[in-house]
């Protein structure tokens, strides 16, 4: 049923896009970016999954041709991606706080000094 994971991950990415495009609250925009990240993380981890595989942890000599395990590379990629996602959230929230101090609002429609 790995297809279900793929569908869900793209659903999450699209949901993230939808949130960013339609929500006028800055905090909700940040939430949308996080949802988008989670969707990609789910996609990465699903791609590395082999049904019935063991954890990819072997000591020297244990690894044989017959070893059947999940792909470790996507797991490493997911960890990187999660860290980056956390940084994005932290950075955007700090910007949101400063913008709330400066503009006194969180409505994106009013935060548009730069235009044209």
């Amino acid at each position: 049923m790995i297809q279900f994971n793929y569908i869900c991950s793209f659903f999450l990415i699209v949901l993230g896009f939808y949130t960013i495009v339609t929500k006028y609250n800055l905090v909700k925009t940040v939430i949308g970016m996080s949802i988008m990240d989670y969707g990609v993380n789910l996609l990465i981890i699903s791609i590395g999954y082999n049904p019935g595989g063991t954890a990819p942890i072997f000591t020297a000599g244990e690894l044989t041709r017959a070893s059947y395990f999940v792909d470790p590379i996507p797991q490493a990629l997911t960890l990187t991606s999660i860290v980056i996602g956390a940084c994005v959230t932290a950075m955007s929230m700090s910007l949101v706080i400063r913008m709330h101090e400066t503009y006194g609002t969180l409505d994106t429609r009013e935060i548009r000094r730069l235009r044209g």
Partner: protein, 643 residues
Amino acid sequence: MNFANMTDYHHFPIYAIMVLFLGAFIIAASGGKPSKNPNNPAGFRAWIALIATAASLCFLAALIKPVMLDGEVIAYWMGSRGISGGYAIGIALEVDALSLFFALLIATAVFVSAIYSIRYMVHDDCVPQYYVLYCLLAGGVLGLVLSGDIFNMFVMVEILTFAAVALTAFRTKVYGALEAAFKYLVVGCMGSTAILTGVILLYAQYHTLNLAQLASLIPGTMNNATKLAFAFLYIGFSTKAFIVPFHPLAADAHGAAPASISVLISGVLTKSGIYGIMRLTYFLFQTMGLGRMQFMLVFIGSVSMFVCVTMALAQHDFKRLLAYHSISQIGYVLAAVGLASALGVSAGLYHAMNHTLFKGLLFLAAGAVLHETGTTDLGKLGGLSKKMPHTTVLFLIGAFSISGVPPFNGFASKWMIYQASYQKAVDTGNIGFLLVTIIALVTSTLTLASFVKVSQSVFFGQLPKEYENVKEVPFGMRLAMGILAALCVVTGLFPKSVTALLTEPAAKAAANVGNYITSMGFKTSLPAVEVSFVEAGVWEPINWLLILCIALLGVTIVAVAGKYDHVSETTSENVETKYQLFYGGEENVYSQVGGGDLFWGFKHNWRHYFDFMHKLHSGVVNDYALWAVVALALAIVYMMIAL
């Protein structure tokens, strides 16, 4: 390869990246306490940043001989973990002429901007942190262009996006800085997510992340998943290059960031996006042979050119105007690269190089004006040539270069782009490419017009009373501008040597993908391609007559189109005495011709277009995000049909 020898030039790429990250680390570890020296609040940290960028530039310059002249592709496997069982298991740096070309551009811009930063940032607080981010940004971009691993490219994209966003918001008190940074972050993250999705889709298909191996596997095995990956990657790198429809972000970010960072955003970040697109289309997917792919890049390039130059005409802020011009010039680069002819690629890269030089110079000049007067509003400035003669001369060199006035470098590269697009039209018999030549010419004219306006409203005309005490900028800032101006002149005077040394090897590398793959140790069936840079046909006088006729036709059309509006002009505009014949003009003798007034006739005739564009660039982050989503959707649909 001899790994024991630390001075072996094969190690230089990783040194070039490492010194920058090391510099960032040392500066961060040294704490944020500002120094006592009022002329250099960052103290020794500024010198660390300067030394790191200089060292990085030296390491890359040492690679010119083996990579550019001898045509070697440097394959550097981290920790000597290379290929096992036909699969790349290690992380590689792959430096071919194309990578090195962009890396040299980046290192030069970063070094010059670091010189400038020392005196430019004196009025700011938290300057030590500025240098941390500065080194991170430089290291991220350099890592992106030298990397041979597509996931590493994504990581570097994220590093540079973070550093760029933080630096955009660095002057938090500047009008709109936070807002610009947030918009950039949101759309930039959508782009990064798109890149990651593309990377992982490719990994799912080919179980490798190495660029050379992907390039050996992908062509001929394209399915819907790889097409989807291509669309995602393309849009991801487009957001980094700020090409249409992502240009509003660039304008916002440039306007708000310190000038030394604007140089990096325009000269370095956009190049990283162009590099990504080139690596994608020429190497990984090798789709540039397809007419539809060429059409897409040339079309987007031409649209970027024209839309951004007209947007620039309507701006009232010095740096925002320069920002739109920056993307307009990137349109030239993309259109030339999209021609997929050796001459086109060479011309595009040449223009990319010149863009870094003259745009850097112009942004530094804008920064000098901001540094002394405290404003970049074109309506408030004027007459600064009396007070800042050196800056004025340097600015004019940059303005002539960007407008394509001989003998400066902008002329040489634009000339090559005209030739390349014309040649392409002759070769393929497709009239559409001739249209590109015309758009490029018209854009160049509008650029010139726009810079006449800037020079008039900033450096010439009446000096406002409040700027009576303005002084010339410090020597450090003039030195940085002087280096770029000298490079502008040199690369303009010796175009043949510059193309032979730098851009033609890079164009050859883009044509010889097979060499790139085999140098990394993978198998390929791609033959070696002989590349020639012919410019035949273009010099024939009859063709020039043809172009002249077309240009005249264009002028006539504009003139005729202008007449239609004379009826409506009488209703509202003539009520103001300002525009009346003979009796018009400004009432106050001390007020000068402002930036908005100089081309009021042109802007009046085009007012519907400008109104439309002004409404479109609404400044709401949701709108820009929507453009990104629409662009992604269109790209996916187009790739599914075209590839």
